[in-house]
């Protein structure tokens, strides 16, 4: 089978799914302004929300990351992908599984786990796909032609191992009949938090650790910081699940543990960010501004700082009292998954797509325009969610305000969220056009293939 078919398959399908996820987000945002839009069971607000998160997480971001890593891993390890056929099979099975899962969600056949709504049968297929992906990762690392494992490989290995346990806990163990009530809530938030922290963070960071030095043509700033970042995050992240229930009905000691570790996350995050910015600072100015890739990487890193500074502080009890359960949290989640890791994934796709087709990116200018539109729309998008979250949090403190009054106060924020959402989607359309042109369009070919040296 032709080299890199798996990467190509997964990247193209993930980009298409990204569009679906954004449309669902827009529909949900519209329903916040005009709740009578699309008033049928299959498109009721909660169903749209479930589909929006699942398509984003699994069909877009995870798939894009897997596709990009299928291309990156062989390059750093100086070998072929362990099995191209297995990779392609992973891609096909994964997409079919997710399409079936999307239908289940629309029909309301769901599990009661946030981010894990896909029903049990679908979960089993996701796990099969994940095992197939893991075999390819381990196989490629085992058959490598270099001695040392680069940081990207550590994070990929970590993601593969951690995700297996996190996913099984969240999707299989939580729905066992013996697991009820708050015990179940604890396990499902272990899953929710670590799905972001130990699946998307390590995969996103892995990609950034490859792309930043490669794209800027500058060695990574500090090897020691890479090590600190990796080993501390693998210890610290997993403890934080209970911070979703601060002040809530779970053992206070567990809340305190989760707060302490949430706060400690500043250490690995700052190590990673110092490392990325250090590399940026050392790079020649021309490469820093060259096309959409370094811009997306830089902005992704900036969003990563913001989201990872919010996290520790909003876990503190006093701050949590205001921000928890409000739109603030929605802003925080979008910042991590859209702001930081989708930006890294888009940078990765802009980097890998031309290499896959053996010619230059269709248009750097269009890529820049995509970056600017998306960024200028997403900053107010996040900000408006935080502002409305804080308004909501303080409004709830006053018992004189009825609940619908506090909701009426957020009307402007909901309108703003929809408008900025349109801006983000417009940016996406340019991204889609650019990527599809690069893969399938007709324009002057220039050879730019990176073959694997053995």
């Amino acid at each position: 089978m032709k080299q890199d078919t798996a990467a190509k398959l997964m990247i193209i399908s993930s980009v298409l799914f990204f569009g679906l996820a954004l449309s669902l987000g827009l529909l949900a945002a519209l329903k916040f302004i005009v709740p009578t839009v699309g008033e049928i069971e299959y498109l009721s607000l909660p169903r749209v929300r479930m589909l929006h998160t699942n398509v984003n997480l699994y069909a877009w971001l995870l798939q894009a990351n897997m596709g990009i890593l299928f291309w990156i891993l062989p390059r750093i390890l100086h070998t072929k992908l362990f099995s191209e056929k297995l990779g392609v099979a992973t891609g096909i099975l994964y997409n079919l599984t997710l399409l079936a899962g999307a239908v289940c969600i629309l029909l309301g056949k769901v599990q009661n786990v946030e981010y894990g709504e896909l029903p049990l049968g679908i979960d089993l297929f996701v796990i099969i796909c994940w095992v197939m992906f893991s075999i390819n990762v381990f196989g490629t690392v085992a058959t490598r032609k270099v001695k040392y494992l680069y940081v990207t490989v550590w994070y990929t290995l970590g993601a593969v191992i951690w995700t297996t346990f996190v996913y099984i806990t969240g999707n299989i163990i939580t729905v066992m009949p013996e697991v009820t009530g708050i015990n179940q809530a604890n396990l499902s938030w272990f899953f929710v938090h670590n799905a972001v922290g130990l699946i998307f963070t390590p995969m996103g960071v892995a990609i950034a650790y490859y792309l930043i030095p490669e794209q800027l043509n500058t060695p990574i700033y500090s090897h020691k910081l890479s090590m600190i970042g990796f080993w501390v995050i693998s210890f610290v992240y997993v403890w934080t699940g209970a911070h979703h229930m601060i002040h809530g009905p779970i053992s206070p000691w567990l809340q305190t543990v989760s707060i302490i570790f949430s706060f400690s996350l500043i250490i690995p995050v700052m190590a990673v960010i110092t490392n990325f910015f250090g590399t940026f600072a050392n790079a020649p100015r021309a490469t820093r501004m060259d096309g959409p890739i370094p811009k997306l990487l830089m902005m992704g890193t900036i969003y990563y700082i913001f989201t990872c500074l919010q996290g520790p502080f909003q876990a503190i009890r006093a701050v949590n009292e205001i921000t928890s359960k409000t739109d603030w949290v929605v802003g925080h989640a979008h910042m991590a998954l859209f702001g930081a890791f989708s930006y890294y994934a888009m940078a990765g796709i802009y980097y890998v797509a031309p290499k896959l087709t053996g010619r230059k990116l269709y248009s750097k200018k269009l890529g820049d325009l995509h970056f600017w539109i998306m960024t200028i729309a997403s900053i107010p998008f996040f900000a408006v969610l935080w502002i409305s979250g804080v308004i909501q949090g303080f409004a709830w403190l006053n018992p004189e305000n009825t609940f619908v009054q506090t909701l009426a106060a957020l009307k402007h924020a909901h309108v703003m969220r929809f408008i900025t959402g349109i801006g983000i989607s417009a940016g996406y359309m340019l991204f889609l056009y650019n990527v599809l042109q690069t893969f399938f369009g007709k324009y002057a070919d220039e050879v730019d293939v990176e073959t694997i040296s053995e």
Binding site: K31, P35, E39, E41, S44, L45, P46, R47, M50, G108, K109, V110, N112, E114, F138, Y148, L149, V153, W154, L157, G158, W162, F165, T169, T180, G181, I182, N183, Q184, A185, N186, L187, F190, W231, S234, F235, V236, W239, A242, H244, M245, H247, G248, P249, I250, S251, L254, V257, T326, V329, W396, L397, T402, F403, V404, Q405, L407, A408, K411, H414
Partner: protein, 195 residues
Amino acid sequence: MKLDVEKSLILTALGAFIIFSIGAVVTTVIPPLVDETLWTAGEREIHEYTEQELRGIDIYKSQGCVYCHTQQIRQLASDQRRYGGRLVDAPASEAWEYVNDKDHFVGTKRTGPDLARVGGKYSSEWHWAHFKDPRNMGEKFESPNGAYQSASIMPSYKFLSDAEIKDLTAYIQTLGRNKNWRKDADGNELNDYEK
């Protein structure tokens, strides 16, 4: 011999796993072992769901109510006052109250109000009208929300069958009843969930 983790697939993978598993075990396996209220109500009396209420739970789950409505009164004065009755604050939720919930609806987001103590607060007729048309309640039921009722952004559930709305309402009327907290002006307990 120098131990060089970065050269070894096995050491990197094993190290990442072991370090991760410490936190994983302490935060998932240990809590139910040291705090039995996570899985048993002990001596306390606790509501057993009827067939109808269980059907209601399935509808609650499949319609995704939890994405907008939490079910937890936090240990905060603002929560206890807001979700309390006219004369009494709602008591904070405790872990043992949930042990019969095969699906927990504790939730993370309050686009709508918390429902942990909503059982018995509104009549079943009110719920019926509200599910059918959440923005047209003011005329039928007098409430301090009156003028603001149209600001509600709750989706209408008119696509549910009458039987389904009854099941769902039956479940909602049980919420909060594990703590018998509602009292009338004389301090007598109001056990009026069946309305």
